[in-house]
Homo-oligomer: 214 residues x 2
């Protein structure tokens, strides 16, 4: 029998391998899409055995689903969580947009954004992977919408602000930063995206001092 401590050690190493592989998979998919993922390529890149990876994911679809889940965690940690440092209302709402742009600016993923790369790839291909992307997108849009509603309830934004429309605008102007950055100009893209959302919020804010000047 294997002693419990040794079992824990193995489980930990297994969990660490799993996380390292998924981090590499999110990065790879941000460049080549989810169809470009393969256990063989990941094993090569990470210098681990392919059979070891099959212990975690039986097939490509399982790996793709786990990759989407890991990208959501990464987005949560980098974009959603930092915004809670700001008080509820329009300041937190704008902080989320700034955190998103900071995540892009830091170049954490070689392709810029996992979701911007794989949503267009999968949107016409029904199945379990697309379902995960739809769930992730609805969760993200729901989160932004809640922040807008809180800002209206608190009186930071005028009552006429339309939470669904404003959520669409913030999402489109945020994703637009990636598409502009990757094909036209990276610095312009981040600057335009920030100013565009700031303009939109300034038009709806009740107290301009709640938003930055520039």
């Amino acid at each position: 029998m294997t002693p419990p401590a040794q079992q824990d050690g193995r489980r930990l190493r297994g969990e660490r391998t799993r996380e390292a592989v998924l981090t590499a998979a999110v990065a790879m998919a941000s460049v080549d899409g989810l169809d470009g993922l393969s256990l063989g390529r990941l094993a090569d890149d990470l210098g681990v055995s392919k059979s070891g990876l099959f212990a975690h994911w039986r097939d490509k679809e399982e790996l793709q689903i786990a990759t989407v889940a890991w990208a959501r965690k990464q987005w949560q940690a980098n974009v959603v969580q930092p915004a809670y440092a700001q008080p509820e209302g329009v300041r937190r709402l704008f902080a989320v947009h700034e955190a998103r742009l900071a995540f892009y600016a830091a170049g954490i993923l070689p392709g810029g954004c996992f979701f911007a790369a794989v949503e267009p790839e999968l949107d016409d291909h029904p199945g379990a992977v697309r379902d995960c992307l739809v769930t992730a997108k609805r969760e993200w849009l729901g989160f932004v919408r809640t922040l807008v509603e809180e800002a209206v309830v608190l009186g930071d934004l005028v009552p006429a602000a339309d939470p669904d429309l404003l959520t669409f605008e913030i999402e489109a102007l945020g994703a637009g930063a990636i598409f502009h950055a990757r094909l036209v100009d990276r610095d312009d893209a981040l600057d335009f995206s920030r100013r565009a959302v700031l303009h939109r919020l300034r038009a709806l804010v009740t107290d301009p001092s709640l938003l930055p000047e520039g």
Copy 2:
């Protein structure tokens, strides 16, 4: 010797085949991306011989480049041209956005938008195909920017309107319609995109009667 009339007939049939194949290729790429294109699949779909297609394009890259050029022509005919029915200035600028949304709403491409599908696919892959996409995007953004500048010069938009920023916003809110439509809700997406651009232009227009009410 082949008589001239017969030669013309062949050339015409050749040109017609070429256009039919490229139209199918743009539609196919709007769903599966440019990497998903193959002369074999196109030949099967159109019921023509694969060797006949090789007479037009020697390899996949040539076909991909011709497909991007054809998609630009399609965009020109469906989105750019109709706007010239409106007078120069902010009316023509908003007409371009409405023509884009009408093109999406008509479902002319099974994947919604060729460029929204293939730009994220190719943006991290340097080469001749990506170069064509960059040229197409710069041409499109340059066209929108010119319309913005004309609207400022004519006095339709306030002098403080920033042509580069407004071009970024119109492009992001237009592309956002496709991403929202394909994964969340199609009708909402077109409505939000229209209202978002209208809001943005209303904030900058000198004479509100130049823009539609709703």
